[in-house]
Amino acid sequence: MTAVQLDTDTAAAVAGTQAQYLTFVLAGEEYGVDILRVQEIKGWDSATPIPNTPDYIRGVINLRGTIVPIVDLRRRFEMAMADYGPTTVVIVLKVQGADRMRIIGIVVDAVSDVCSVAEGELRPPPDFGGSVSVDFIRGLATSDGKMIILLDIDHLLNAVTTTPATG
C-alpha cells in the first residue's frame, strides 16, 4: 500500500518538472502534444464529410462505434495542402471541453518521436503582431537542436466544436 503510494508520488514529482510530448511533423515543422492526451494513433482512412462545416474539418469517422470528428491540421493552420501519403496518420486526442471530454482526431503528415521537456525549458512564443495566431501554442521547446512547437490542444480544438456552422 505504502510502496504504491510512493511510486505515484515520485511519478507526480517527475511529471511536475518533466512532461512527455508526442511530436509530429507538419510541412517540415515539428509540433508536440501532451502525450497523456493521446488516445491512439491510426492510419488515415476516409472520413464522411459533414456539410456546412469549415474546410479544415475533414469529416467524421467511426472509431469502434463512436463518431469522431477529424481535423486536418494543415488546413487548420492555413498551410499549403499536401496529398495524404503512407505516413499520414490520425492522432486521436482527448480534448477537455467546457463540460466534458471530447475525442477528436487530427490529421498530420507523420508522427516522429516522444520527447521529455522540463516545464522550465518552455519558451513563450514570440508575438508576430497578429500576422500569425499564437493563441494555441503552449510554448516552444528544443530537442536535439530542433524547435518543437507545443500545442494547447484544448484551446485549439475546442474552437472547432463551438464555432457555429456557416453557410
Binding site: 472520413a47 464522411t48 459533414i50 456546412n52 467511426n62 463512436t66 463518431i67 471530447r102 475525442i103 472547432v160
Partner: protein, 674 residues
C-alpha cells in the same frame, strides 16, 4: 481495513428514493381510508431500511430523523395509535423532509435544517403525547427518558468477521447525544498472540442526552445483538414532563459530519437502471444462442469447400436472427414502465387540490407501458406542467362544477399506450375547456394576431403554445407565468415527439403527447445525395417519386415548388443545402422525396434510393457539435459513417427561408446515455 462504501452510496440513494415513493403511495392510500396492515407494514419497512442504510453510510441527520418516523410508524403498526389526518399530513411532510435530506446528501450540500427540525419537533410532540396507556409494545424495552446512559459494549471476538465494525456503531451512537468513549483494553493479548481478525476491545460508553430512549440505543445495536454483550444503565431519573419538551435538544444537526459526507459524495450522479431479471435471463439465452451459432460457423469455416455453402448460408441467416433478437433484447433493457413518471402525480394532485380547494379524482391507466429510460426522464417536467395547468385552469371548484350541472368531483385522466411505433400519453380533464375567447383576446392584446383575423379552432388552440402566452389574470405559484406550454412543446419536440391539444367548451381539455419509443434506433431509408449516403427517418417519408420537370416551378427565381396532385410543396435541393457539387447534367436529379414533419411537407431532391434498414443513432455532438440539417450519424454495415437528416429542421428551413435555426436534437441524449 474499512470497505469503500462510496460505491454503494448511489444504490442507497436510489433505494431510499424508491422507499420514499412506497411510503408516499402508502400514506396517500391510508388517507383514502383503506387502512390495512399490509400498507402500514410496507410503509414501516421502507422507513426502516432507509434508516438502516443512512446509518451505515453515515448520513446521521437522515438516520436520526427516520428513527423518529419509524418509532411513530411502529406505534401505528402495533395498533397503539390510530391514524388521523394530521398524523398522515405530518408523515407526508416527513417523507418530503427525508427526500430533501437525501437530495442534499447527493448534491453534497449541507441540508437546510429548518424544515427538518420543524418536522422532527412535530414528530416528537406527537410521540410524547402517548395515545394509548401502556403503549410500548411488549417486546420492546420500556421507553424511558433519562438524562443519559451508561453502556458497556463487549463485542464477541468474531464480530469483525461478520462484517460489523464497532466504530460505526459508536459513530451512530454519537448521533443520539454526546458520547464519551473509554476503551477497555483488559482483554487485549500481547502482540505475538494477537489475532488481527478478532475483536479484542470492549468499550465503556457514556451517552448524554435527555430524550434518548433505551429502544433508540438498542436499535443502534440491533444488527449485532447476537455478537456482543450489551448492558445499559440509565443515568438519572426521568423528570416528569421531560419527554414533553420536545423541540429543544431536537435533531442534533451536525454540519461538520454532513460536510465530510458532502465532500466524498461529490463524485457526481451516475445514472443506473434496474433491470427485470426476466429480461436479463432472455439476454443470457440469446447470448447462448449466439455462441452456438458462432461455433457452428467456425466449424463450417475450418475446412470450407463449395459443398458447405448451404451450411454457411444457413449459419449466416441464423446469425442475423440472433443479432436482431439480441439488439431488441438489449433495447428492451432500456425500457422502463411509464409509472416511473406517473408515480409522482397522486401526491401532486392531492397537494394542489388541497391548496386550491378543488376536488379531483386522478385516474391513471397504462402505467405499465414501457418506454426508453431517457425519454421518461425528459418528459417528467413537461407532464408536471400539463397536470398543473389542468388542475389550475381546467378543472373548476366544486361549486362551479355543481352550478354547471357536472358531478362535484372532477376527473383527471392520465393514460399511456403504444400506438404504432409511438407511445401516446394523454392528459385529459373534464373541466371547463379552453376559454377560446380569452385566448383570442389575449393574443390580440399581445399583437400575435390582428383584431379582425379569422382563426380556425385549431389556430386558436395553437396560440396557447406561443412563448410567454398565458390567459391567467393573476400569477399564482402554480401557473400563469406564461412559461408553460411553449416549454412543454419545445421539450417534447426535442425528443422527436409532438403535442396536440383538443378542447371542448365546458367538457374538458385533452392533451396528447406522441413520443418515439426509443431515441437510440430508427428505421431509416438510405439515400444517395451526390457522392454521399444519407439516412432519412422512414417515419417522416410520405412518398418518393420520379421528378417530372413539367411540375417544377419557382417563385422569385429562388424558392422552388413542385406541383403534387394540385398541391404546391416547397423543394429543397439537398446538394446545394449540403454544399455538395451540383449535378453534372442539368436533368440529373432523379427523385423527389416528400417528407413530412409537424404537419408540414417539403420535397427533398435525392439522386438515388438505396436500402432500408434500422440504424443505431450516434451523436454528432458527443465529440463534435450540432450541425444544421442533421440530427445525428450512424454507422453502416461497411463501417463508414452516414449522416441522418433532421427532417423537422429541413422543413423549417423552407419555412423560414434558411435562417440559422438550431437543428432539433433527437439523438444526443440517447447516445450520451447509451
Amino acid at each position: 481495513m474499512s470497505i469503500d462504501l462510496s460505491r454503494f452510496r448511489q444504490t442507497f440513494i436510489e433505494e431510499s428514493r424508491e422507499g420514499l415513493d412506497i411510503m408516499e403511495a402508502g400514506l396517500l392510500g391510508l388517507e383514502a381510508g383503506t387502512c390495512d396492515a399490509d400498507t402500514i407494514n410496507a410503509i414501516f419497512r421502507a422507513a426502516h431500511s432507509i434508516k438502516g442504510g443512512a446509518g451505515t453510510f453515515g448520513f446521521s441527520t437522515i438516520a436520526t430523523f427516520t428513527h423518529l418516523l419509524e418509532t411513530l410508524l411502529d406505534q401505528v403498526r402495533s395498533g397503539d395509535r390510530t391514524v388521523t389526518r394530521p398524523t398522515v399530513a405530518l408523515l407526508l411532510s416527513s417523507v418530503d423532509v427525508v427526500r430533501l435530506l437525501i437530495d442534499a446528501a447527493l448534491a453534497g450540500q449541507p441540508e437546510d435544517d429548518a424544515p427538518t427540525r420543524e418536522t422532527a419537533a412535530g414528530l416528537r410532540a406527537l410521540l410524547a403525547d402517548t395515545p394509548v396507556a401502556g403503549a410500548a409494545a411488549a417486546d420492546r424495552l420500556v421507553p424511558a427518558a433519562a438524562t443519559g446512559w451508561q453502556i458497556r459494549f463487549r463485542p464477541h471476538a468474531e464480530m469483525l468477521e461478520r462484517g460489523n465494525d464497532p466504530t460505526r456503531l459508536l459513530r451512530e451512537l454519537g448521533t443520539l447525544g454526546t458520547l464519551r468513549v473509554t476503551p477497555d483494553l483488559s482483554t487485549l493479548p500481547t502482540l505475538d498472540a494477537l489475532d488481527p481478525e478478532a475483536c479484542h476491545l470492549a468499550w465503556d460508553l457514556e451517552l448524554d442526552g435527555s430524550d434518548i430512549t433505551a429502544a433508540a440505543i438498542a436499535s443502534v445495536f440491533e444488527w449485532v445483538e447476537d455478537e456482543c454483550t450489551l448492558t445499559m444503565t440509565a443515568l438519572g431519573l426521568p423528570e416528569p414532563g421531560a419527554t414533553a419538551s420536545a423541540g429543544d435538544a431536537a435533531a442534533p444537526s451536525r454540519p461538520a459530519a454532513t460536510a465530510a459526507v458532502a465532500a466524498s459524495s461529490a463524485g457526481g450522479e451516475g445514472s443506473s437502471l434496474r433491470v427485470n431479471t426476466e429480461k436479463l435471463d432472455d439476454l443470457v439465452n440469446l447470448v447462448g444462442e449466439l455462441v452456438i451459432t458462432q461455433s457452428m460457423l467456425g466449424q463450417v469455416g475450418r475446412d470450407f469447400d463449395a459443398s458447405k455453402l448451404e451450411h454457411l448460408q444457413a449459419g449466416l441467416a441464423q446469425l442475423e436472427r440472433n443479432t436482431r433478437e439480441l439488439q431488441e433484447s438489449v433495447m428492451r433493457m432500456r425500457m422502463v414502465p411509464i409509472s416511473y413518471a406517473f408515480n409522482r402525480f397522486p401526491r401532486m394532485v392531492h397537494d394542489i387540490c388541497e391548496r386550491l380547494g378543488k376536488r379531483v379524482e386522478l385516474r391513471m391507466s397504462g402505467e405499465g407501458t414501457e418506454l426508453d429510460k431517457t425519454v421518461i426522464e425528459k418528459i417528467g417536467d413537461p407532464l408536471v406542467h400539463v397536470v398543473r395547468n389542468a388542475l389550475d385552469h381546467g378543472l373548476e371548484t366544486p361549486a362551479d362544477r355543481l352550478a354547471a350541472g357536472k358531478p362535484e368531483i372532477g376527473v383527471l385522466r392520465l393514460s399511456a399506450c403504444h400506438r404504432g411505433g409511438e407511445i401516446v400519453i394523454e392528459i385529459a380533464d373534464d373541466g371547463r375547456g379552453l376559454p377560446r375567447e380569452r385566448v383570442r383576446a389575449k393574443a390580440v392584446e399581445r399583437g400575435l394576431i390582428g383584431a379582425t383575423d379569422v382563426l380556425t379552432d385549431e389556430q386558436v388552440v395553437d396560440l396557447v403554445f406561443h412563448p410567454g402566452f398565458s390567459t391567467a389574470d393573476t400569477v399564482s405559484d402554480l401557473s400563469g407565468r406564461g412559461v408553460g406550454m411553449d416549454v412543454v412543446r419545445r421539450n417534447i419536440k426535442a425528443l422527436g415527439g409532438s403535442v396536440e391539444l383538443r378542447s371542448r367548451d365546458g367538457q374538458g381539455t385533452t392533451l396528447s403527447i406522441r413520443l418515439p419509443l426509443t431515441l437510440a434506433i430508427l428505421d431509416g431509408q438510405l439515400a444517395r445525395i451526390g457522392p454521399q449516403t444519407f439516412v432519412v427517418p422512414l417515419v417522416s417519408i410520405v412518398e418518393s417519386l420520379k421528378v417530372d420537370p413539367q411540375q417544377m416551378s419557382s417563385i422569385t427565381g429562388r424558392a422552388e415548388l413542385y406541383r403534387l396532385r394540385d398541391e404546391y410543396i416547397p423543394v429543397l435541393r439537398a446538394r446545394e443545402l449540403f454544399g455538395l457539387p451540383p449535378e453534372a447534367a442539368s436533368d440529373a436529379p432523379a427523385l423527389l422525396m416528400v417528407l413530412e414533419a409537424e404537419g408540414r411537407q417539403a420535397g427533398v431532391m435525392v439522386d438515388e434510393l438505396l436500402a432500408q434498414q434500422q440504424v443505431v443513432i450516434k451523436s454528432l455532438e458527443a465529440n463534435f457539435r450540432a450541425v444544421r440539417g442533421l440530427s445525428g450519424a450512424t454507422i453502416l454495415g461497411d463501417g463508414t459513417v452516414a449522416l441522418i437528416l433532421d427532417v423537422p429542421g429541413l422543413i423549417g428551413l423552407t419555412q423560414r427561408g434558411g435562417d440559422q435555426g438550431r437543428p432539433t436534437r433527437t439523438s444526443r441524449d440517447a447516445v450520451a446515455a447509451a
